[in-house]
């Protein structure tokens, strides 16, 4: 008994030792910044001068900051466009790639390629594609006799353009998720439906879509999280313009912290935004539980 206890203690020590690197990493890069940011929300600090206690004044500013609420609205607009577009495109392509077609593996790899390429590189590439005067997309439109689209330079078009780009960038990941879901649907369900005279469209809506429900929920949650952290695209492509129409919350927080040195205020915005995300995730969780 004693020997067994000793053995357990020794294995505990090994376990602690093995997990130590991550604990140190967590403490340094997640735990400490989190606690420090929380302290910051009650302070004024521009990195160089000593921190100054200002109580809840950063919150007072937040609730009077029109630009921050514009940034929240923009981020929500992005999500409203991006999530349905992402689901529709990924599902459509996954269904096509699930058919018996030649070069299936090649196409699957091709669609996944943008996921692993640097976001900045892709953003610069799309910036050139979207260019109003010289971009390939507008060249194509004019060749087809259509008028040019002010992709990134019009208030109404700028955020949808970014959503299109983000969809293209991430579609490969969601195709994989949908493919896994599609391949998990038992074949006999389709065969039984066929015998009962169900047409392909009916099979899609009554078998495929319900069977993909959990995948759909996962895609919605992942897209939502990705969408809330929208930063690189507006940072590189538009700088938040035209006229604040692509100013995302993350970009706004970045500007406050690193352009203007308002570290305390940026931390307050960050915590407030995390609270909003928490509410959204709780709603989604409730939705998922109800569905289950």
């Amino acid at each position: 008994m004693k020997s067994a206890q000793l053995k357990t203690k020794s294995s505990d020590k090994t376990g602690y030792l093995m997990s130590l690197p991550y604990v140190i990493y967590f403490g340094l890069f997640i735990g400490f910044p989190l606690v420090f940011s929380f302290i910051l929300i009650f302070h004024k600090w521009n990195i160089v001068t000593p921190m100054q206690w200002i109580g809840l004044r950063n919150f007072y500013r937040l609730f009077h900051d029109v630009q921050f609420f514009i940034a929240i609205r923009n981020t929500l607009v992005f999500l409203v466009i991006h999530i349905p577009l992402q689901i529709f495109t990924a599902l459509l392509l996954a269904i096509l790639l699930n058919q018996k077609i030649k070069l299936k593996g090649f196409f699957r790899a091709l669609y996944f390629l943008p996921v692993i390429v640097s976001g900045v590189v892709i953003t610069i590439l799309w910036q050139q594609l979207f260019a109003y005067e010289t971009g390939l997309l507008n060249l194509l439109l004019t060749k087809l006799g259509l008028s040019k689209i002010p992709w990134l330079i019009n208030i109404k078009w700028a955020m949808p353009s970014i959503a299109i780009m983000a969809t293209w960038k991430n579609v490969g990941l969601y195709i994989v998720l949908f493919l896994v879901g599609l391949q998990g649907i038992p074949r006999y369900l389709y065969e039984a439906a066929e015998i009962d005279g169900a047409r392909p469209v009916q099979q899609f809506f009554h078998i495929t879509i319900p069977a993909l429900n959990s995948t759909m929920v996962l895609v919605v949650i992942l897209s939502t999280i990705g969408g809330f952290s929208l930063f690189i695209e507006p940072f590189v492509m538009t700088g938040g313009g035209p006229m604040n129409s692509t100013l995302s919350v993350m970009l706004y927080i970045y500007n406050q912290a690193f352009y203007f040195g308002h570290m305390g205020y940026a931390a307050t915005l960050g915590f407030f935004f995390a609270f909003i995300i928490l509410i959204v995730v709780l709603i989604q969780k409730k939705f998922v539980e109800r569905k289950d």
């Binding site: 004024k44 160089v48 330079i153 305390g264």
Partner: protein
């Protein structure tokens, strides 16, 4: 378990050995009686080359004051890297890429050495630069924390062939002349309904520092050398600002500048007839231009009714000594070497940048350089007519407000210039007032 303990012990020993090694190096230098200084220079290649050359010269002739060179650590901007260094107390002894606009942040933190404490500072500096210019670098507390070092007067470089082809024989001086030239130059060459060449190009993203090269440069020119502040406070809500906003509104409305973000150098590619730039661009143009590419430089255009010398934005970069230094006297000695007449000559030759120095083009030491580099002469002659930025803690936010309004008015034509300038000034004033009346408020 034993193996893990042994590995941990070895790792700890390794760390201790490395630390001791470092300590020994520093101790060796101290034991030899030499002072060791760290010097940060800008991280572009030409300035690294210049700094390397100057440091080797200095070290060879000053065995008792040895300098170690390091380019400013990679960051979005030098200011960010320096602020991070101040916060982490890892600042160098001296840095030669100080932007005057960030001085307030540095001095308020007590991060810089007061330079006028050195008995020969004023004499040395007044001999080098005009008193009026030196005065503009004085901090609000009445002291000097920066050594005015170099300036990059912003002017307009133009493609002579494109101008000739469009029938423009002399560079435009006024807004009307510029717009007329732009009308002749902006063209759809292949008839596909899309312009292929434009008068110029500026980044349209509403990022505060982008406005240095369009609004601010033209505002300084249109106002006869005024900056955003005067002794009474924010003063850019004036006729000059309105004229600049109108001028750019006209440019974008007529498509003389594209509303596009371009990659690569489209000035050299012959797509843009002009580029708003500084002397540093000469080295680049000379290196990459095709043999048939002809270019010249002209001053920033001014409103039609403007008379007097044409001023421009100077994009000054200065030298400061950090208060973490243990040897301020030795650093000051090294700083004087960095701004010596010979070092200034090398600044011209290696970096194509203009030292802030009286009668630069007339000084016999530099005359052969200017004879061989006539383009640089134009920038050097512009240098006395430059203005920098105001040292204000809310400068970036004021530029941000200007940038938002400039975008709405000049680029997208959604506001009148009068409204836009009034809005920007109002935003700037309230930002400043909040800072003054509510110190706790950011």
């Amino acid at each position: 378990m034993r193996i893990q303990a042994t590995i941990t012990l070895f790792l700890l020993l390794g760390v201790v050995c490395i630390s001791c090694g470092k300590k020994r190096t520093a101790q060796t230098v101290a034991a030899q009686g030499a002072v060791r200084l760290t010097y940060w220079c800008a991280s572009n290649q030409s300035e690294i080359d210049l700094a390397t050359e100057l440091v080797s010269k200095w070290n060879a002739s000053h065995p008792k004051i040895q300098v170690a060179l390091q380019p400013i650590p990679a960051s979005q901007s030098s200011e960010e890297a320096l602020l991070a260094a101040i916060a982490g107390k890892t600042t160098p002894d001296i840095c030669a890429n100080m932007w005057p606009g960030a001085m307030d942040d540095f001095t308020s933190s007590g991060g810089l050495v007061r330079l006028d404490q050195f008995p020969d500072f004023m004499d040395y500096l007044t001999e080098r630069i005009p008193t009026e210019l030196l005065e503009s670098f004085r901090s609000p507390d009445g002291h000097y924390y920066q050594i005015p070092w170099k300036t990059n007067p912003i002017m307009i470089m133009y493609n002579k062939r494109m101008f000739r082809k469009a029938g423009i024989l002399k560079p435009p001086r006024t807004y009307s002349e510029y717009l007329a030239a732009a009308k002749s130059i902006t063209k759809d060459l292949n008839g596909d309904g899309r312009a292929d060449q434009w008068m110029g190009y500026q980044d349209i993203r509403p990022i505060w520092w982008q406005r240095f090269f369009d609004y601010y440069t033209h505002y300084i020119a249109a106002s006869g050398g005024q900056t955003l502040f005067d002794s009474m406070g924010i003063c850019f809500e004036n006729d000059a600002s309105i004229k600049v906003f109108s001028f750019f509104q006209e440019i974008y409305r007529n498509g003389y500048f594209p509303r596009t973000t371009f990659q690569g150098d489209n000035f050299l590619a012959g797509k843009f007839a002009t580029v708003i730039t500084g002397p540093w661009n000469i080295t680049h143009v000379e290196k990459f231009k095709k043999p048939e590419f002809e270019y010249d430089i002209f001053p920033i255009p001014v409103p039609d009714d403007y008379h007097g010398p044409v001023y421009t934005y100077g994009d000054h970069k200065n030298i400061s000594i950090f208060s973490t230094t243990k040897n301020p006297e030795a650093v000051w000695k090294f700083a004087r070497f960095l701004i010596s007449a010979q070092a200034d000559l090398r600044l011209l030759e290696v970096c194509s940048q203009i030292p802030l120095r009286k009668n630069l083009t007339k000084n016999p030491l530099y005359q052969s350089y200017f004879r061989e580099n006539p383009m640089m002469t134009k920038f050097a002659e512009q240098a006395p007519f430059t203005r920098g930025v105001d040292g204000s803690s809310v400068l970036k936010e004021i530029f941000d407000a200007i940038s938002q309004e400039y975008e709405a008015c000049s680029i997208y034509g959604k506001r009148t210039p009068e409204e836009a300038v009034a809005n920007a000034a109002h935003a700037g004033r309230s930002r400043r007032q909040r800072r003054q009346t509510r110190p706790g408020y950011h």
